[in-house]
């Protein structure tokens, strides 16, 4: 049996568009996911800028309040399902087979399907912007009865969510199958890089909760078109029931959006500190604990719906508990840095930025857990500030850190370091300028999802709008930098980073189209 012949046969693939449409290669599909996320990042970002333009000053200047509500709704759906989730799936596709020493994903054909569902789902979702009655404007949480007031867009919204869910479930099954079956001999579970571990746990969360969302939105669909009354009080239904179903999906979902970034940061910090990760096994257990807790805290999103006292106390205590494993992670990262020999290349800067600003988001999260105080914070800009801190300088920064970290490996070229650092510092400055003042207006009484506000909120809103535009324009550097690095640049070595550990750095830069056809030897 000649492996050489086999390899040549497999290396042949159609060229042009057919290569990408028919590909079953984990590296190609990883790239597709990442490009898709990048395009969506700018679409969702434009929506954010519409929001910030309208909120630049009190009064209605640019858009109708209904369109404003569409923008907040669509911005959230695009950023969550179209940016953060596909970007992490793209990273998983690229890195997981390589990190565990496997040849490809376990289910390559399904991998192709799970990506190509996404463009259809999002064409459907974005097409609602041009429909009678406008795009969905009831918030991404789709609370009935308001979401049932959506016009022609409604079934398109529901089916788009179904397709996104389908794609995520297929992707998640693939990742679980890959990690459990494709590891090189000797790559035991407790030797896997944390990125693989966090994704394994994330994939189980996805498989558990995406069907719950699908069920919930299907009930909305039948309530609207087939006369059922799942959530209609007049027909014996319960509007609050939807919120319970939604957040039973929604809370694990927010960990789906953050757990893989823990894995990315746990890969980057030891590399640039030139020191092994502190507390590897406690990191694994902490991730698993966070995943478990995510299933029993959902109603902290609904403290004001009028739950019984015992319910409020239970969900407050369970929520506060999350601070323990999350704290363990942050302490471990800081201790990994402690007495290392650090250098501060762009991936390290983004990773450190992640730790600091994610922790700030964690602090406001802890504050939000305190039920009596949450009555004041709930549905205000304080909440907006909180989740943007964990999602933008949290998840998005981790994704950017990962791109800078692995881009030399993927392309074989080094990115321009100085420009990368400029990108980091501009992003960090503007992200704080945008979101930090939101804490203030939220505490002072500004509700979220409003197109206009009373005068005492004007100053900080103006600052936030400046910051948002700055952040948006700073991301053009990111695109320029990626395109430039793909086209050429200083050649990267196989190891790329001085302190790099892991199987991906044993491959050439860029890696061959098919890697680890014969499993590597694990020490």
């Amino acid at each position: 049996m000649s492996t050489v012949v086999k390899d040549t046969h497999h290396d042949e693939h159609p060229s042009g568009i057919m290569r990408w449409l028919t590909t079953t290669n984990h590296k190609d599909i990883g790239s597709l996911y990442l490009w898709f996320a990048l395009i969506m990042f700018f679409i969702g970002g434009l929506m954010a800028l519409v929001i910030r333009s309208e909120l630049f000053q009190p009064g209605l200047q640019f858009v109708d309040p209904q369109f404003f509500n569409s923008m907040t709704t669509m911005h959230a759906l695009v950023m969550i399902f179209g940016v953060v989730m596909p970007a992490f799936t793209g990273l998983a596709n690229w890195m997981i087979p390589i990190m565990i020493g496997g040849p490809d994903m376990a289910l390559p054909r399904m991998n192709n399907y799970s990506f190509w569902i996404m463009p259809f789902a999002f064409s459907m979702l974005l097409s609602t912007l041009f429909m009678d009655g406008g795009a969905p404007a009831g918030g991404w949480t789709l609370y009935p009865p308001l979401s049932l007031q959506t016009g022609d867009a409604f079934p398109f919204l529901i089916f788009a969510i179904h397709f996104m869910g389908l794609s995520s479930i297929m992707g998640a099954i693939n990742i679980v199958a890959t990690i459990l079956n494709m590891r090189a001999p000797g790559m035991t579970l407790m030797k896997m890089p944390l990125f693989v571990w966090t994704w394994l746990i994330t994939a189980f969360l996805l498989i558990a909760v995406m069907p719950v969302l699908a069920g919930g939105v299907t009930m909305l669909l039948t309530d609207k078109f087939f006369g059922t009354s799942f959530f209609n009080a007049a027909g014996g239904g319960d509007p609050v029931m939807f919120q319970h179903i939604f957040w039973f999906f929604g809370h694990p979902e927010v960990y789906i959006l953050i757990l893989p970034s823990f894995g990315v940061v746990s890969a980057i910090i030891p590399t640039f500190a030139r020191k092994p990760l502190f507390g590897y096994s406690s990191m694994v257990y902490a991730t698993a604990s966070i995943a478990f807790l995510s299933f029993i805290v959902w109603a902290h999103h609904m403290f004001t719906v009028g739950m019984p006292l015992a319910g409020e106390v239970f969900f407050m205590l369970a929520t506060m508990l999350i601070a323990v494993p999350t704290g363990v992670k942050v302490f471990n990262w800081v201790t990994t840095m402690w007495r290392g020999a650090m250098t501060f290349e762009t991936p390290m800067l983004f990773a450190i930025g992640f730790i600091v600003m994610f922790t700030i988001g964690g602090f406001s999260g802890l504050m939000l857990a305190i039920t009596p105080a949450d009555f004041q914070y709930h549905d205000t800009y304080f909440v907006v500030a909180h989740f943007h801190y964990v999602l933008v300088p949290g998840s998005i920064f981790a994704i950017m850190a990962a791109v800078y970290f692995w881009l030399p490996k993927w392309t074989g070229n080094m990115y321009p370091e100085t420009l990368g650092k400029v990108h980091f510092w501009l992003s960090t400055f503007f992200v704080n300028l945008t979101f930090f003042p939101m804490h203030f207006v939220g505490l002072a009484g500004m509700p979220r999802r409003i197109p206009d506000y009373s005068l005492q909120f004007a100053d900080y809103n103006m600052i936030a709008s400046f910051g948002a535009f700055g952040f948006g324009f700073a991301q053009l550097i990111f695109v320029y930098l990626i395109v430039k690095t793909i086209r050429g640049g200083e050649k990267a070595t196989d190891e790329v980073w001085e302190g790099a550990e892991g199987l991906e750095w044993t491959l050439s830069s860029p890696p061959p189209y098919h890697s680890f056809n014969t499993p590597p030897v694990i020490k």
């Binding site: 407050m316 601070a323 323990v324 105080a373 509700p447 999802r449 206009d452 005068l455």
Partner: protein, 270 residues
């Protein structure tokens, strides 16, 4: 000459900065203490957890920045190789746990008080509509709708905005001070949430359900709030304005069938 100009310039800048908070927005950056015992307790909890977070933040970020300054390759350090310490890991699991318990106890106590709606003397039913509020004083004939009174010209920037822009209504909710008032909250269409920060009251108005909450207002005054749950196109345009007055003024107002608009005896504008 140049120097003098610089001095003038800095004076101008200083004056400019001083004149910026024309509507005091720069100082509105914390939760209001409010005017009830419970709102003060909530404020206390908020500050307590904020200080705890700040202390932890200073310690963690302090260690981190120290490390960033000292433990860098450019200083020629050789990296240590330690990667676990059961003692340390045990410690930073247990200590946060203890802090959380210390936080949960007062929070639960306040929560129990907030849930106590017994022995109220006045009962008011609040109904949310797209996009206004209805107030019904139960066991009386007084019942009215309350909606935004800001003129459209101000919203569409054709007229200068008044100081209470978007937080003024045609009929205020008049309440007596030092009396326990119980609110029954529901909705006629979609979800709304009735929120007045100074009273630390926020609860969802849900069609088909009745939520309740109670308050004792300690100081007379005008307190302004907003709808806090997305309810459609005019969600940002359904404010709440409460006028808290002395008992005799309230009785008089009620005896007039709630018809006399705005007693205007409020001492403080909140």
């Amino acid at each position: 000459m140049n120097f003098l100009n610089l001095k003038k310039l800095s004076l101008l800048i200083a004056l400019g900065l001083l004149s910026l908070p024309a509507h005091a927005g720069w100082l509105d950056l914390n939760m209001p203490k409010g005017v009830t015992d419970i709102s003060n307790e909530v404020y206390g909890l908020h500050m307590l957890i904020l200080y705890i977070c700040i202390v932890i933040g200073v310690l963690v970020f302090g260690a981190m920045f120290w490390s960033i300054l000292k433990h860098r390759k450019s200083r020629g350090v050789t990296p240590a190789t330690f990667h676990e310490s059961t003692k340390l890991e045990f410690l930073w699991t247990i200590v946060p746990f203890a802090i959380l318990i210390g936080m949960a106890v007062p929070a639960t106590k306040t929560l129990i008080k907030m849930y106590d709606t017994s022995d109220a003397e006045i009962h008011i039913k609040i109904t949310g509509y797209q996009w206004l509020w209805q107030y019904e004083y139960l066991n009386t004939d007084v019942s009215f709708y309350s909606k935004l009174s800001t003129p459209y010209k101000e919203i569409y920037n054709q007229k200068e905005k008044n100081i209470n822009y978007l937080q003024e209504v045609d009929r205020k909710l008049v309440l007596p001070i030092n009396k326990k008032i119980r609110f029954l909250l529901t909705s006629n269409d979609v979800l709304h949430a009735w929120w007045v920060p100074d009273l630390a009251l926020k609860k969802d108005a849900i069609p088909g359900f009745i939520n309740e909450m109670a308050v004792v207002i300690k100081e007379p005054g005008v307190y302004r709030g907003r709808c806090a749950e997305l309810c459609g196109r005019h969600h940002g345009f359904m404010p709440i304005v409460i006028e808290a007055v002395e008992q005799d003024q309230y009785d008089q107002w009620l005896a007039n069938g709630g018809k006399v608009e705005s007693t205007d005896l409020a001492s403080t504008e909140k």
